[in-house]
């Protein structure tokens, strides 16, 4: 286990300096939209919050973190903020494989396809789509989180944004619950699957094991909605031991503090999902990343739906 | 017995024919008042007649309930209306008016002589709810061996209308076309003794009830332990193995705001200890563990009973079980925090019993203007000096209808309700009281 103080300070410093927890320049992280054919005007703005885009970088960094966890080298982490290397910034960007980045960009492109197929009136403005700061909140750096959230809320407010379409549970929770509470700014927030109207699908009936992320299943009480969206496409959800409000954590959030712990918790969840025998589907980039790292074939909700259109 | 040709005016109505209702009816009848008991089930006796033995004396529940059931059934001044739904209970012009519908038994109660020929003839086996679903009964049957009245009931959900019971019946009592029978009763006062049901444990999905094969509830264990039980011995449902280790999970549906049940159900500690003692008699080599938060052995002789259980070797572990799942080989796996320093622990048992809590069996809304408390039991505005008074003059309450209660406390409260109802009748109509006095 790494000393949490070190991780928190590294992330907080990055966020202060670059508005990005890993210190990677925004234009490098957020490239997925370029071939997506998006307009800049419409009813609601698509807001990715950068979580999907970050996953490849997180996985690269945690591979290194896992290597040194519980070794004397772990203590050197506290100098990370002075020595970017594999933990932050351009270095991290450089050593993260392009194939991985493309994979996660594809998910966002699939979400766009789904929204278009549902005739949702939406637009995208890449310069406004920024990280929500949720990781600092989870780690307990309340000051850091509030400072960042205010910056972002102001920026969106100034741009006249009122309605947001989100793609991951962490960003959704931050915008829906935390922003009003800590910044006083309230947006109308919809996770994308709430807006889907996809009709009968392609006629194939399949069953999947849908992993409810904690934020959707428990904090936001939204686990029924994606299941309904799947059902519209003829996809059934196998009963998973622990789901909905009682869903089991994927272990992902522990990645930065203890990759070993993230693995243990994730493995237990994987076993529960595997018991169904159905292909595993996640709808949160953290869950997706952590469960995949444990060797499981896990697909994103949007990919499964896009394929069945 | 159900008598359809009686006077529909009574001194008192008793709503519910469990042990509280029977005791209240007997105490009213013995004072000289006429009483109508309205019971939802096909037999009086309530939950108590379904139990095995009762704490802290360990005498059999039947031995205590049956005489009270028979005494009420044979009482000159008590009329039992079974298989009846109460549709409305209102006060008008100083009297209590009840609208009741008797559900069809598809058996003429006046003709049925309880000979069971229909039951023997019926080809349809259905799970017997009176035996915790562990064994089967027939689609037409006497509800249970010591039911009162001894009248068969046909279950239309399972009946195939094959006609064998009708042909077997020596008195021509089977009537496939019987209709619900609405009727009205009036009385000077009413005593509500509608009792309890067990907690709906589905509200606690982490206990896996229904998914874990050898996880049963305490009422099912009562049947396994009962002398007239489904197997005549204790075994676990999945494979018929005699369990070597048995766990009790306390507060399964009590003291748990995550289920919306913040209150203590008052009886579960004692019934679990009782069952544990009976089990250690039936299975002398089995390990029995009770997982608890606080042992609430508060009544007369209860603490000594608890101490005896400890002396008998029953294990008590202070922990609330957090989750239950199926383990290997039919085991039930419990997760809990061992607070003695061990920390998070899992324990496998051959059989586990959920000590379910108590919830009210009756909701007066839409039937009677009685109010209920936050716990949904009948509200008693003067719990100290008038524990049996409700918000409505002339309507009294006793037993678990006014909050979880054990049998001893229920019987005392039923007596008090009969006293209060008798006083009310005396005050309202001295003639009723004097009639009672000369009866």
């Amino acid at each position: 286990m790494y000393h949490p103080g070190d991780i928190i300070e590294a992330i907080a410093a990055n966020l202060r300096a670059t508005r990005n927890p890993f210190g990677i320049p925004h234009f490098i992280v957020n490239r997925w939209w370029r071939e997506a054919g998006l307009t800049a005007h419409g009813d609601a703005m698509l807001f990715t919050g950068m979580m999907y885009q970050f996953v490849p970088y997180i996985e690269t960094s945690t591979t290194y973190l896992a290597k040194y966890e519980d070794t004397p080298l772990a203590a050197y982490l506290r100098y990370a903020r002075y020595a970017p290397g594999y933990l932050s910034g351009l270095g991290l960007a450089a050593i993260t494989p392009a194939r991985e980045k493309r994979r996660f960009d594809r998910i966002l492109q699939d979400i766009v396809r789904l929204l278009k197929a549902s005739e949702v009136d939406f637009y995208y403005r890449p310069e406004l789509d920024r990280y929500s700061g949720i990781l600092l909140y989870d780690l307990g750096d309340q000051e850091g989180f509030v400072r960042h959230a205010r910056w972002l809320a102001n920026r969106l407010q100034k741009a006249g944004i009122k309605k947001l379409i989100t793609v991951d549970p962490h960003t959704t929770y931050a915008l829906k619950e935390l922003f009003p509470k800590y910044t006083g700014v309230r947006f109308e927030v919809h996770p994308y699957f709430e807006l889907l109207r996809l009709g009968g699908g392609n006629g194939r009936r399949t069953t999947v094991a849908l992993h409810d992320p904690c934020f959707y299943g428990r904090y936001l009480g939204l686990s029924d909605v994606p299941a309904r969206a799947l059902a519209d496409l003829g996809i059934d959800c196998a009963p998973v031991d622990r789901s909905g409000a009682y869903t089991h954590c994927c272990g992902g959030p522990a990645e930065s503090i203890s990759p070993r712990l993230a693995g243990e918790v994730g493995q237990r969840r994987l076993d529960q999902l595997a018991q169904t025998g159905a292909p595993i589907v996640a709808m949160c980039p953290i869950c997706l990343g952590n469960l995949r790292k444990l060797g499981a074939e896990v697909r994103d909700l949007s990919s499964v739906m896009a394929e069945n259109l | 017995m159900d008598d359809h040709h009686h006077d529909r005016n009574f001194d008192a109505l008793v709503i519910g024919g469990g042990i509280a209702g029977l005791q209240a009816a007997l105490d009213l009848g013995d004072q000289g008042f006429t009483v109508a008991v309205i019971e939802r089930d096909a037999s009086v006796g309530g939950k108590m007649i379904r139990l095995s033995k009762v704490f802290p004396t360990l005498d059999c529940a039947s031995c205590i309930t049956t005489p009270k059931m028979a005494a009420a059934a044979h009482h000159d001044r008590i009329t039992l209306f079974t298989y009846c739904d109460l549709k409305s209970l209102q006060r008008q012009n100083g009297r209590v008016h009840a609208k009741v519908v008797q559900r069809p038994r598809y058996v003429n109660a006046d003709k049925c002589i309880g000979c069971r020929q229909c039951e023997y003839a019926c080809p349809v086996m259905v799970p017997d709810p009176e035996q915790g679903g562990f064994s089967a009964t027939k689609a037409i049957a006497i509800p249970f061996s010591n039911a009162i009245p001894q009248v068969a009931v046909l279950d239309p959900r399972h009946c195939m209308l094959c006609g064998r019971c009708e042909r077997a019946c020596p008195t021509g009592a089977v009537d496939y076309f019987q209709q619900p029978q609405p009727f009205s009763l009036t009385a000077g006062t009413a005593v509500v003794t509608t009792g309890f049901e067990m907690t709906a444990i589905a509200d606690k999905p982490q206990y896996g009830f229904g998914k874990v094969p050898n996880l049963i509830d305490a009422l099912q264990m009562e049947r396994l332990l009962a002398p007239h039980g489904p197997y005549n011995r204790v075994l676990r449902p999945s494979d018929g193995k005699a369990p070597d280790s048995i766990a009790y999970i306390q507060c399964a549906g009590s003291r748990d705001k995550s289920m919306g049940l913040p209150y203590c159900s008052r009886v579960c500690c004692m019934y679990a200890i009782k069952q544990a003692m009976l089990l250690s008699g039936a299975l002398p080599l089995a390990d029995i563990t009770i997982y608890y938060m606080d042992i609430r052995a508060f009544g007369k002789g209860y603490e000594q009973f608890f101490q005896n259980a400890q002396a008998m070797g029953i294990n008590f572990v202070k922990a609330k079980v957090a989750a239950v799942e199926a383990g290997p080989d039919g085991a039930v796996r419990l997760h809990y925090e061992a607070q003695d320093g061990e920390g998070v622990t899992t324990a496998d048992h051959d059989l586990a019993v959920l000590s379910l809590g108590l919830v009210p069996a009756w909701d007066p809304s839409g039937i009677c203007p009685l109010t209920t408390g936050a716990d949904r039991f009948i509200h008693t505005p003067r719990p100290k000096l008038g524990p049996v008074q409700t918000g409505l003059a002339g309507i009294f309450v006793a037993g678990a209808a006014a909050g979880p209660k054990d049998i001893v406390d229920t019987i005392a409260e039923a007596g008090n309700a009969a006293m209060a109802a008798g006083q009310y009748l005396t005050a309202m109509s001295p003639s009723a009281a004097s009639r009672a006095a000369v009866a």
Partner: protein, 625 residues
Amino acid sequence: MTQANEKPDAPAAKIGVYICHCGGNISDHMDVEAVRRRAENLPGVTVARTNMFMCSDPGQEQIAEDLKNGTVNRVVVASCAPSLHEATFRGAIRRAGANPYIYEHANIREQVSWVHHGEAATEKAAVLVAAATAKAGRLKPLTPIRVPATRHATVIGAGVAGLSAARDLAARGIAVTLVEKSDALGGQLAALDRIAPTGDRAADLVNELAAAVLGHPGITVLTRTEVIATDGYIGNFKLTLRRRPPEGASTADARYVPFQGVRPPEPSDAPSGELTVETGAIILATGFRSYQPRPGEYGFGEFSPVITLPALVRKMAERPAKGRLLQIDGRPIRSVAMIHCVGSRQIPGIHPEDESGHLNEYCSRVCCTATLDAADRIRRNHPGTRVYELYRDIRTYGRGQEELYEQAARDGVVFLRFEADNAPQVTTAAPGEGFALKVKVADTLTFGETLEVPADLVVLATGMEPNDVSDLVEMMKLPVGMDRFLLEVHPKLRPVEMPVGGIFVAGTCQAPFDVTEACNTAGAAAVKAAALLADGQVELDPFVAEVDVDRCRGTGACVDACLNPGALALVEMEVGGRTVQRAQVTPALCLGCGACVAVCPENAIDVCGMTLGQYEAMVDAILET
């Protein structure tokens, strides 16, 4: 042979035997007609019939007709278990204008057709019918015993249970004498302040009950009064009372004295000295006393800041004041430690016995809630005062009590849990530590760590002990349990009854109860007394012992064997011009057990309706059939 002892019946028995097919339940397993034929030939049998359902109206009608037209004067029905239909057939006989006790039942379903089959069943049924017939021939008409009862009840003890029972009985039109040892009404309830969890004021409750009792013309209230002698039996007791003269000035109006209760008015003609009361029923409501800790128990008597819960309640009520810190005896209290289960839940080998060798092994039931209530009140009224509760199990079992437990926790009461064999230790704090005392406890909630609780005050949650009523126990022959509380006949079948007929228990003389439960038991006891005295007489089963004075020699063996003292006695009577001693039965007291029958050397005593001769005749019939 012993039958010779039976006096011949006049007129001769004409026995009707009625055998039930029970719709095949009986007839499918035996030859009912064969049983009937054999019955027909039994001595004394005038008619033997069968019916598909004897319990049906036509079946009962047949019996009634045979009785009315004189064909029969004794009835035997062979059918199901007597528990099901004995009462039915006795009722049919009564409706036909005959004495219901000329009836005998043969159980040929539960004890024959459902357990044996074929010839064996037929044979056994025939034998049981013969046995029943043999008994029936020796049955005599009996009359239920009716004893006049005084429509008056005496309630002993004027705490909440006694007051409540007296009020209830008077409201049902029964005259009541309420006897109280002290000079005030209210008992231990008056020693309380507010009652948890509802917050009712004890004073209001005492005043309400006292007003109801004092205002009812049917209730005679006798304070400063004790029962010094009892006599009589159910419905007809005679109590001798002794009333002390008032100490100090007597009052003209009822007056509430805090922590003592309501002093009733003392009219000039109030009785004093010895008086007698004739009463039909007695309700014992003699209550409890609070456990007094042993010297040194948790520092009690050793350190002055160690007090009992009742003392705390009183001190807080006498100087009610809000403020940052609780003040007790003029001292600001920054921290209170409350220790549960003092004098309750004692365990042999862990807790020492008292000087008379007793341990209070029971739970006192009310102390958890009372302690929590006091703790929560301190936290709410004195936010600067810290409160710690040291407990074994929190027993907030009743309605609203678990909610109080949670409320106290949310209000900042800190809970520590100890094991019975590792009790907290109260010691003085070192001079520099700032607090008067400290309490060391191995806290199981903190993984067994030993914690030190600083305390300016230690409160002991003392339990209940029954009041000493050994005089009444002796006089009335009352059973007492291991816990020294009065012992009811059966906790569920007859929970408020003493084995002596007509004596009932209410409230905390039976077990620890809270106010609600005490009221419930009081109502339950009152309803039993009201039912008993409802019509001015008590009806008892006629199955009681009867002495044949011609045979009795006055040996007294029966009196010695009698299980219910008073039911049998030797009395002097004139026989043939000489005064001799003979046994006499008091039917109201006789249990009908027959213990006397077995020991009489002269066969001079028997139980009506089930005589030894009848049993012997049945045995003969079993052997001869």
